[in-house]
């Protein structure tokens, strides 16, 4: 069984986001990137399936800032092949273009499952998994929390609100949007990533003709008014705690 895992880097929200001078994009100059957390879950679920069934796992990413690090990390965790799609810039790219570029490359590969994160914090024109499924003309299940493989089929759990779960049975090939892996994504020490950088290499494949767009234009970025709703309680931690207790007493809660 072959599993392909599209991954991408997203801005790290721990660093503040800054709007650039045009007002229509983020200032990406000093931006720090990290792997989309749901892609990390997709990779983990794929690696668990590899352990269970002997599947091969390919991590694939569009060329963008810091992407080599993400691909080598995937290899250090156990991905057999790592591919970088060139000829499109992955940073700030629309989801439609990203999905089409990935579909161009994945469409020429042999696969049973494509597993990617359910969403990312920056997918303005839609979550990638289902867009990709339709460019590949393959069925999809998204918001997935577990995948159990038997032969050329898989039983897939999809989550609704309130902890309700639906189970589906699907025949390969299909595309899955992974919400959470069965276990926390594994950790890999930096030393191991460095070691793999010396032994493994990234395969580069051209994106080919993309020819789609988001169909919309960004007119502005703006920050929601932070603290707009809350009355802020200042002072030292002791002062703040005392004020919370007072507040709870005044509301009859304590």
């Amino acid at each position: 069984m072959n599993i392909i895992v599209p991954i991408k880097q997203v801005p790290d929200l721990v660093e503040g986001l800054e709007i650039d001078d045009s007002g229509k994009d983020l200032n990406r100059e000093w931006m720090k990137f990290k792997l989309n957390e749901f892609d990390d879950h997709a990779l983990e679920e794929a690696l668990i399936l590899k352990e269970e069934t002997g599947a091969t796992v390919t991590a694939i990413a569009l060329d963008s800032d810091d992407v080599d690090k993400a691909l080598f990390t995937a290899a250090a965790k156990g991905a057999d092949t790592i591919i970088k799609v060139t000829g499109v810039s992955g940073t700030g790219l629309s989801s439609h273009e990203a999905a089409k570029a990935l579909a161009n490359v994945i469409g020429g590969m042999s696969y049973d499952l494509v597993m990617t994160g359910v969403q990312a914090i920056d997918d303005r024109d839609g979550q990638l998994a289902v867009l990709l499924a339709h460019y590949l003309d393959k069925p999809h299940v998204s918001v997935v929390t577990s995948v159990t493989v038997a032969g050329d089929q898989a039983v897939i759990s999809k989550e609704y609100g309130g902890g309700l779960v639906a189970e589906f049975e699907g025949t390969f090939p299909m595309v899955l949007g992974i919400q959470a892996a069965r276990q926390s994504p594994r950790y890999v020490p930096v030393a191991k990533v460095r070691q793999i950088m010396r032994s493994a290499s990234i395969e580069e494949v051209a994106a080919g003709d993309v020819g789609v767009s988001s169909g919309s234009d960004i007119t502005k970025y703006f920050t929601p008014v932070s603290g707009g709703g809350a009355e802020m309680i200042g002072g030292s931690a002791e002062d703040q705690a005392a004020k919370i207790v007072e507040l709870l007493k005044s509301k009859g809660i304590k």
Binding site: D125, T219, F222, I233, Q240
Partner: protein, 318 residues
């Protein structure tokens, strides 16, 4: 192409999700601005009677098929795309929900319509639509414009009032025949959530903890605070995904919707998926070290500070 506004409704176990009514309320405003008709799309099997709850729409298009009896990503994506293809409405609203996320992108690609996600507001002027999307975990809003003439949107829960879109009375129903041969994905079963744990929806006081807690070794101090307050501990999704707390304690989109007298949020950023589950709490107090955390837009009181200082200080004073 028509001037219609379509709302793709969704239901589970015979119950509409609130988001369907919210989209009807939002759709009505858009339809008034475009001068178009508001159409509710209903898919199911022997469930035509559900249309009687969709009185806010001018018309219901109903597709009946045995593969639509329970939500099926493949069947519903196909059926919704076919219904849209036959009418080419100006605007299609889908929910930013587990079901909607399978249908919006399907319609976008199959009908070559632009798609905008995480939508919190729409305005129409002349030939173009202006849409606000909430991105980056609620930390940044992005306004987009499309003059494509038609557009699919994935609407954030809470973007409009469900009550404003909840109206009984059966509008005219158009039956739509769908062909759903060759499905490779089959619905098997619904698995109900575990009911053996504390029911956080019934707790008047919730001390809720997020990724700011860093690791599970730090949870006992949160439990101690909750015990002093006479409440229960709840949490955000990453705490559950890390297996530090059971799913029964998760607040939010895929967790539970809670409305306690007190919701004390500790180290929770306030992503839209979390806000969806707790925004109606009577008193929200948030503790976060990041002054720009979106949770402060929704809390009544905010404490900018380190939870590892505030928790012991607060526990000591109770």
């Amino acid at each position: 192409m028509s001037n219609q506004v379509f709302v793709i409704t969704e239901h589970i176990n015979g119950q509409f999700d609130d988001s369907s009514f919210e989209m009807l309320a939002m759709g009505r405003e858009v339809a008034s601005a475009t001068g178009g008709e508001l159409v509710a799309v209903l898919m199911g099997h022997n469930q035509k009677d559900l249309a009687s709850q969709l009185g806010a729409a001018d018309k219901v298009i109903y597709a009946d098929h045995e593969s639509l009896a329970n939500f099926n990503p493949q069947a519903h994506a196909k059926a919704a795309s076919a219904i849209v293809a036959a009418n080419m409405p100006r605007v299609v609203l889908t929910a930013y929900s587990s079901q909607g996320m399978e249908m919006g992108p399907a319609i976008s690609v199959s009908q070559n319509m632009p798609l905008l996600a995480y939508v919190s507001g729409i305005s129409v002027s002349g030939g173009s639509l202006t849409v606000v999307s909430q991105l980056y975990g609620g930390k940044m809003n992005v306004e987009s414009q499309t003059s494509a003439g038609h557009c699919v949107m994935s609407v954030l829960p809470g973007a409009a009032s469900a009550d404003a879109g909840r109206k009984d009375g059966a509008p005219a129903i158009d039956d739509f025949a769908v062909d759903l041969g060759g499905l490779t994905i089959k619905f098997k079963q619904l698995i109900e959530p575990d009911k053996s744990d504390v029911d956080i929806t019934q707790q008047p006081i919730l001390v809720s903890v997020g990724r700011g807690i860093q690791n599970s070794d730090n949870l006992p101090m949160v439990e101690e605070l909750a015990a002093k307050l006479g409440g229960a501990v709840s949490c955000s999704r990453p705490i559950v995904d890390s297996k530090w707390m059971p799913k029964t304690r998760q607040v939010g989109k895929s967790g539970l919707k809670v409305k306690p007298k007190l919701y004390l949020a500790l180290g929770i950023s306030g992503a839209p998926e979390h806000i969806e589950g707790m925004k109606d709490a009577e008193l929200i107090i948030a503790v976060n070290s990041d002054p720009k955390a979106p949770i402060f837009d929704f809390a009544h009181y905010g404490v900018e500070g380190d939870l590892f200082d505030i928790i012991p200080a607060l526990t000591g004073k109770l």
